[in-house]
Assembly symmetry: C2
Homo-oligomer: 305 residues x 2
Amino acid sequence: MSVLVVGSIGLDTVKTPLDEKADLLGGSASYAAVGASFFTDVKLVGVVGDDFPQDHVDYFKQRKIDLEGLQVEQGKTFRWSGEYHWDMNTRTTLSTELNVFEHFTPTLPAAYGNTQYVLLANIAPKLQSHVLDQMQRPKFIIADTMNLWIEIAKEDLLALLKRVDMLILNDSEARELTGQTSLIKAGSLIRKMGPAYVAIKKGEHGCLLFGENHFFSCAAYPLEDIHDPTGAGDTFAGGVAGYLASRSTGEVTFDQLRKAVVYGSVLASYNVEEFSLERMRSLNMTDVEDRYQMFKIMSHFEVLE
Amino acid sequence: MSVLVVGSIGLDTVKTPLDEKADLLGGSASYAAVGASFFTDVKLVGVVGDDFPQDHVDYFKQRKIDLEGLQVEQGKTFRWSGEYHWDMNTRTTLSTELNVFEHFTPTLPAAYGNTQYVLLANIAPKLQSHVLDQMQRPKFIIADTMNLWIEIAKEDLLALLKRVDMLILNDSEARELTGQTSLIKAGSLIRKMGPAYVAIKKGEHGCLLFGENHFFSCAAYPLEDIHDPTGAGDTFAGGVAGYLASRSTGEVTFDQLRKAVVYGSVLASYNVEEFSLERMRSLNMTDVEDRYQMFKIMSHFEVLE
């Protein structure tokens, strides 16, 4: 089964305490689509300007990502610039230029309408809902979001949540959305807003997965050096969606979701090792499976004797 | 094998957003000794004043804790008062009265000198070292510490670290001790300071265990309500030490340490469910083993097909 990914595509300028790089491939959909492409066929919906480097288009093609849904508009591509501080957990947005993204309406090619797995990567919840409006009955819909939408488009977000199977968000966003400091309570409350499954990402502390009467705590991979955290969450979401789509037989089970979350964590842990999507370019499935085993080993302990 | 526990014993007044209780049994050694007593015989070294309630002494006795090393001095028992805020992760110390603890010197009864397992619960590192000076060759020494000693007694702490097998500390303390924001780097650096094993506690995010070429990530139990976090870290340390002592056959292995850390986490997760050591009073080994299985279930995912 293939997965439809919609979100932002941009050119990023990223500054870390040790380095700075400009005009990098970025955007939630770029990371998510490439992440998902490790497991299954991907259909990408997004917009770029006519300045978008052919190199990046070629990379998507090399990952066998279907670009029929990629709109190329006259004007400049969305640009974001940010700076990470020493702990790599906090970042400051230096500038955001929406450019062609400002008037983006995700219009799906007819052939995309019956895709069974959908990943609504981080964009305005209204646009995420608009994508669903154009689809027949997808089997499993995952949405990602960010604090901005909780703050300026909460009604849209709450409307979207009733339509999705799984929400992925980070710990501070889960707290902000629910007004609960306990992540356990927050996860339960978000499930009551609509999604049967909720994944709360905790950065260097891993992530929590909530389902009905099910709970899974996934560790984070112990990286000593993180070079660029940009896109880690999007890559995670892409890995989750891609794995689920690749394993589609009958209903999505909590067991599959556990594995999907580990795969997403594996991909995200690789992605932060280099700037932008650079690490993904050299990554292969043997690397992915090796680190999956490492996740198993590092969280394993013996049952009682 | 039995375990010797040394640390503070006090009377706590604890305020949370919902409740306030005075004159509770507290102190690092109280929590640690009771935690360890779930697994093995415990010898307690500490000091109390002549105002220390007989009730608390009786509770130690009921837990079969050897009190030959408990000094009762003329004067008042050590008192601490603190307040937790809404997120239960931050607390403010309202007052500290050292009282008889001010001139405490842990003097070991002769019979304690050859105890094989030692838990140096949180007290000044100089006093922790003084306990080791009075011992023959213990098999495994665990030390706990706190930010105060990193700030005002770093030399003493560094001297102690060369003499212990395992250090337990929380994430902010690990960062403060090493000047590293990455906990993975911090764990490795602390191992170079002496202890072969390091456990970094991350509160609601579980804990990380470091050994030579070994790493274990232990989840935290998903509690919806925490009533009093006081002593969680001490209870954890007690559980770790008690389990290790109870399983002593040959060298302590990383495999045993993994289990010990899960047992410590189980005990700590129960302890925060009520004020002071109240939850420990009704806890039995079936409860402990049940929750151990829950830790297994919530961190379990399938290996690759």
